[in-house]
Symmetry: C2
Subunit: 377 residues, 2 copies
Amino acid sequence: MQAVGMVVEYNPFHNGHRYFLRQARQLTDADVTVAVMSGNFTQRGEPTIVDKWTRARAALESGVDLVVELPIFYAAQPAHRFAAGALAILNALQVHQVAFGAEHPDWDFPALVAAERRFNQAEFDQYNVTYATQFNQQLRAQTGRELRDPNDILAFAYTKAVLTRHYPIQLTAVQRRGSDYHDREIHGQIASASAIRQAVATGTDFIATVPTAMRAALAQVDRVPDWADLYPILRNQLIQAPLNYLATTYQMAEGLEHRMKEVAQRSLTFDAFIHGVKTKRYTYAHLLRMCLYTTLQLSEDEVVARTDQPYIHILGFTRRGQEYLHQVKKAVPVPLFTKVSQGMRDGFYNLDYRAGKLYQNFTPVEQDLKHPPIMIR
Amino acid sequence: MQAVGMVVEYNPFHNGHRYFLRQARQLTDADVTVAVMSGNFTQRGEPTIVDKWTRARAALESGVDLVVELPIFYAAQPAHRFAAGALAILNALQVHQVAFGAEHPDWDFPALVAAERRFNQAEFDQYNVTYATQFNQQLRAQTGRELRDPNDILAFAYTKAVLTRHYPIQLTAVQRRGSDYHDREIHGQIASASAIRQAVATGTDFIATVPTAMRAALAQVDRVPDWADLYPILRNQLIQAPLNYLATTYQMAEGLEHRMKEVAQRSLTFDAFIHGVKTKRYTYAHLLRMCLYTTLQLSEDEVVARTDQPYIHILGFTRRGQEYLHQVKKAVPVPLFTKVSQGMRDGFYNLDYRAGKLYQNFTPVEQDLKHPPIMIR
């Protein structure tokens, strides 16, 4: 059996994902589809619209054969770490084909990766612009191109991960319209995930845009989870924790802990907080991730330890997905499991467990401990 | 001018407090009344029904001349530390008379204090009973009495503080009915604070039991603040913070951090949590205070540092209270202030400031920074 892997958030799972799934299978001639999916928090550090089990079930009922969790120390990261982590998981699962969407699938991404090696690191010294802006200044100077669209940025990151780690993985880029991601309107049966979340949030009709498997779950969402809901927790942490403790937070740099504490003290709402913290130096995505790291009390040491020793948490599978697992499991070089035991909770799985507990502010469902995998027959 | 001091919570200020105020003034023949009042959290570690400013204003409009804040490192403490802290503040304010209620005002409290010095410390070794129970076993053996009623316990603690610190303070005990405190029913114009809070919580009529000054504020309470509201914050702290960090929490002992973390992980409600944590060893009051210390990330070091260097935050005064302040201020040996500056916020006042920020989960009102004192003309 040959598998095609995909790196996904399914936030929520929608018709566009189903369409992509068919394309990926056709283009790669794969027998089985494997999705490595973010858990309860997205790459931007935000809580997902419904929990990972609901999203995994919708995916499995819509044609995905195997869904595994992208651990949070990979999932809530900038594109290059997100992509590297996801490909590490797919490679460990013996997946040799990976399909992804890109706004410019025809670009020579390996050439762009090669160009990055010639960057002058000394030029990354402008403290009033984002890293992405400085990256694009150099990329344009070298290649005439800039990475501006979100899927192109991930395409670059997947390519870089494969080339750097020498994974035996063939990458297949699929055309994705550049407007999709940012499009906030719903027209017909295909809409972007953000447009669908917006429709759920505002009570607009979204039914045509998601497969049956996702409809009931989304219909039950009366409030789309977001940071405003978690702000009392984040705010308390920023106010109560000493500065030297906040400074140990993963990615906390350049004195950002001072700014976050100061702004939290005077901001009663998350909106006021995030606008108060924003500078030209940091993107909103970076700051949202910093909110997540702070709330999870995630330290640099913890991320380093976990990144070096990943694992694969299987969320669910079809019969075909199960067969694939039987075929590959002996070759998988990292812990592979379907149920989180108490020992795993207190050990290597602890960070994902804690993220699940944070997500319990949106659902009473226990997210991890002894949760059985989804099996679709 | 001679002052009479009182140690109060005014949670809320009610007719019984007004009655006591008159008795205290008559019995001591004082010109001015000074109340040292808990801020936004009570001795039991619970949030107050309305904020400290609202309670101070009601007291000032009902006959108290000067209201100062009992700093939280004194206020949210067992009786002996609460009483010692409050008397340290009153003594610093040059108050030489202190009146308090007691269920048994005729008891010889100095004799009971003397008896405690003869206790056998080695007998405080039963880990399945509370400290209070062991204390009473020894007190009964020495004197035939037990301290069972809350105001008698405080009376003992005030007496002990005066005798130990040699304060030039005369104590006046006023009869208080033993049933008052625990009485949950409202009959007529005098009711216990807990009965009034209960009435506010259940929408029962409480109007006759509180002076006009308190009525409007209580009428606006649509939910009585309690730990259930703060549980998402407490729970996240217990789950996300490493055990070795939780272990540095003030009064965290005998491995309680393990138990609190474990129970928090599985408890979705505060009710389930506090019942899960309860053992014969600890009272609910102790555990509620531990919840507060944990949420404030209060360390042993911080409490020791603050306890040794108290200060007096003036919440408000009448004209007579202001005159008294003018009369004594040069003799006050600790910082005395009416407004919290940014420097104080980040310095010695920080812990009270943080408690005020935690209380902002119940009110948008800034509790400390640059808040002016209440002046009643």
